[in-house]
């Protein structure tokens, strides 16, 4: 994963809403209140696995796009089933970036396209969306992706919709759900900046944890850590 610590900050506390209410005196265009917080990131580009909390929750897309590098083209592979269930990517909503979209018939074709993409150093990243738990996606397949990503230094995100976290060669595994968005400074009834509950449940060389973070105009802010930083350790021991 690319280094995105530039705009990330973390607000610890149990009531995230209260912590960022306009009553706190922040001007509408002031940056979000929050602790600058480095997103756990591996030393180099590698394979990360993202589990969507639900197929009808596209929150992960916002989380992922917030950290996507935009200097080079991005390869976005979608399995047919993923397109049917949670929609095709819509370029006007993705911001300005060069995009190559691949519609794969099944998981096997999607994995092949991802691996082909990872061999190409001219890409800024490869995103692959798979539906469910396909046979083709075993430990070997994920390990191949991880090795290819590390060799060509192209970050790869494997997005799992309605999938179960089985054995995987991914270096970082996230589970991402939407959470109620931040307050909109202009219209209290409208939703504001996106916020997500992110859980890092397995990572190499990094303690797992769970955070609530938000993103506003090019910057990540951690708005709440619902269970504190030590929870990750506890859960890891329990797992």
């Amino acid at each position: 994963m690319s280094r995105v610590a530039k705009g990330l900050s973390l607000v610890a506390g149990d009531g995230s809403r209260a912590a960022i209410s306009p009553a706190s005196g922040a001007a509408p265009d002031a940056p979000l209140p929050g602790v600058r917080w480095p997103l756990p990131a591996p030393p180099g580009p590698t394979l990360s696995e993202l589990f969507a909390a639900s197929p009808r929750d596209a929150g992960w897309a916002g989380f992922l796009l917030a950290q996507a590098e935009r200097s080079k083209p991005l390869l976005w592979v979608q399995e047919r089933m993923a397109i049917l269930e949670s929609g095709r990517i819509y370029p006007p909503g993705l911001g300005s970036m060069e995009l190559i979209h691949v519609e794969a018939r099944d998981a096997r074709a999607a994995l092949w396209a991802m691996e082909e993409g990872l061999r190409c150093s001219g890409l800024s990243g490869v995103i692959g969306e798979l539906w469910g738990d396909p046979q083709a996606l075993d430990f070997t397949a994920t390990r191949r992706l991880a090795v290819a990503a590390e060799r060509s230094r192209v970050p790869c995100w494997l997005v799992r919709l309605a999938g179960i976290a089985n054995l995987s060669g991914a270096r970082m595994r996230w589970r991402i759900a939407s959470r109620p968005s931040l307050l909109n400074p202009f219209d209290p009834r409208a939703s504001g900046a996106s916020a997500w509950d992110v859980e890092l449940f397995r990572a190499r060389g990094y303690p797992p944890g769970r955070w609530a973070i938000a993103h506003e105009a090019g910057a990540f802010h951690l708005v709440a850590a619902p269970s504190g930083g030590t929870l990750g350790e506890v859960e890891r021991l329990r797992a």
């Binding site: 639900s54 009808r56 929750d57 596209a58 929150g59 992960w60 897309a61 916002g62 989380f63 992922l64 796009l65 080079k72 083209p73 390869l75 397109i83 049917l84 949670s86 929609g87 095709r88 990517i89 819509y90 370029p91 006007p92 909503g93 993705l94 300005s96 060069e98 995009l99 190559i100 979209h101 691949v102 519609e103 794969a104 018939r105 074709a109 092949w112 396209a113 082909e116 993409g117 061999r119 190409c120 150093s121 001219g122 890409l123 759900a177 939407s178 959470r179 109620p180 968005s181 909109n184 219209d187 009834r189 409208a190 939703s191 996106s194 916020a195």
Partner: protein, 489 residues
């Protein structure tokens, strides 16, 4: 006739004629030998022929099918010469200048042509002559099935009827009425007196000059720039599946050499397998930027070439750059292309070949407010036109087909409160809208309704883009319906 005979179930000695519809009833198009013996002749009316022998069997002819066959044979005849032209209804014209020695001489070339057509079940009349008109005349009116003439064209043509000059029927008829039946008698007449009696288009003197090479007759439809092409002939027909792949290993370096010489790069590459029975099998691939790198080209076309169906066996292969663009032999930098554009183009080529060009696409924006129209997709192999991005906030994902949802809202135009999508209830916590998008009346039917889009957020924080189609009382249908259209990230 032979094409019909191959697929018909008449006995060989049935007097069958093939007919086409003429202005005054059916006209005989072709006849079998038994029918010809009974007086039927191509070009005569069927009724006249039936008057001579009522037992004639008439079968409708298929001129389109014949033309298609000739067309196909023309492509197949590319094995003998790079310049093949369909000439009239049933003739092929090959420019064999400097080609014959590849087949061991003109006699061998003619023999090769005849055997291969005979294998395909077609009889041929072949003539090689210094001019196209002479070759046509000898092939159509010569006594032997194959004629080769060099400097003695005039002598060989002398005995042929004037019809061999390919004049319009009226001119031929006039000449015959004048008693000028053969070319030799025509050649004996003084040129000036002959020229005065005919219009320019059907002047027999000109036709004669063309046949004897005194006047140029350019081949029509000759492509001046020939596409780079490599040809490999096999000693024996190959049916094993590795044959095309093995052929590619020889063809690609050859083709790349040609491309290098002409500073070209391939955009579309076709591998053609010539089968023994006269048909061809083609595998073609496209690239997104011109390329002449052997490894890349081999990798692109290898899979498709290996899947070519050999039928009764391939006896020749051709690799042809159907579409080539200029590619300077420049080296961009000392290190490998740092921008990676070429790498990405190669990736697109590989993906397009394997998954299909319509599955690998790049976004193409359009000037439209309708969300599904504003952002189209175009095959990544094609060029993308830049269009300014809209300023409005749009979802990250759009359903291909908006899904109907049940919504609780304050009629007629209130904001939605709760909706059911795919059998799950979402309580709306926050909502923003509407953003009204009017139908494009200039291209949609007049019954199309406007859309009011809302950005909604449910209790769990999931955000959607939903719309109500129409308003109550807009006169374009009953109660407005709601649809789920997009998901925000």
């Amino acid at each position: 006739m032979e094409r019909w005979a191959r697929s018909s179930d008449f006995a060989p000695d049935d007097p069958v004629v093939l007919t086409i519809e003429g202005t005054h009833g059916p006209i005989i198009h072709a006849v079998t030998r038994p029918a010809a013996e009974r007086g039927a002749r191509a070009g005569a009316r069927l009724t006249d022929a039936r008057a001579l022998d009522p037992s004639l069997v008439a079968v409708p002819a298929d001129p389109e099918g014949d033309a298609a066959l000739v067309e196909r044979l023309a492509r197949w005849a590319g094995r003998w010469s790079p310049l093949v032209e369909v000439d009239g209804e049933s003739s092929l014209r090959l420019d064999v200048t400097g080609v014959a020695h590849l087949f061991g001489g003109e006699t061998e070339l003619v023999a090769d042509v005849q055997t291969r057509f005979a294998v395909a079940g077609l009889s041929t009349r072949v003539a090689i002559a210094p001019t196209a008109a002479a070759a046509w005349a000898l092939a159509h009116f010569g006594k032997a099935a194959s004629v080769i003439c060099g400097k003695d064209t005039g002598a060989k043509l002398a005995d042929l009827p004037v019809a061999a000059l390919r004049l319009p029927p009226e001119a031929t008829q006039t000449l015959q009425r004048l008693g000028l039946k053969t070319i030799s008698t025509l050649a004996g007449i003084e040129r000036r007196s002959l020229a005065r009696r005919f219009r320019e288009v059907d002047n027999p003197v000109d036709a004669l000059d063309r046949a004897l090479g005194r006047k140029p007759e350019p081949l029509t439809a000759v492509s001046t720039v020939r596409p780079p092409r490599a040809l490999l002939k096999l000693e024996e027909p190959a049916t094993h599946p590795e044959a095309p792949t093995q052929a590619l290993e020889r063809l690609i370096p050859n083709l790349v050499q040609q491309l290098q010489r002409r500073h070209l790069g391939v955009r579309r590459l076709a591998m053609i397998g010539f089968r023994v029975d006269g048909s061809t099998a083609v595998a073609s691939v496209a690239t997104s930027i011109p390329s002449r790198e052997p490894k890349h080209l081999l990798r692109l076309i290898a899979d498709k070439a290996a899947a070519l169906d050999p039928g009764f066996g391939f006896d020749a292969f051709a690799l042809q750059a159907d579409w080539a663009e200029n590619l300077a032999s420049a080296q961009d930098s000392l290190v490998d292309d740092p921008s990676g554009t070429r790498e990405v183009a190669r990736l697109i080529d590989r993906l397009s070949v394997k998954l299909g060009p319509d599955k690998v696409r790049r976004p193409q924006r359009h000037e439209s407010h309708l969300p599904e129209r504003a952002s189209g997709w175009r095959p990544a192999l094609d060029k993308i036109d830049p269009v300014k991005a809209p300023a409005a906030q749009r979802p990250q994902r759009l359903l291909d087909r908006p899904e109907a949802i049940a919504v609780v809202y304050a009629t007629p135009e209130g904001v939605p409160r709760r909706f059911v999508w795919r059998r799950a209830v979402h309580d709306i916590a926050r909502v923003e809208g509407p953003e009204r998008i009017a139908p494009e009346w200039w291209r949609q039917p007049s019954t199309a309704r406007l859309r009011d889009y809302y950005r909604v957020e449910d209790q769990a924080g999931r955000r959607y883009w939903i719309y109500r189609e129409g308003v109550i009382g807009d006169g374009r249908g009953g109660l407005p319906e709601w649809y789920m259209h997009g998901l925000f990230g």
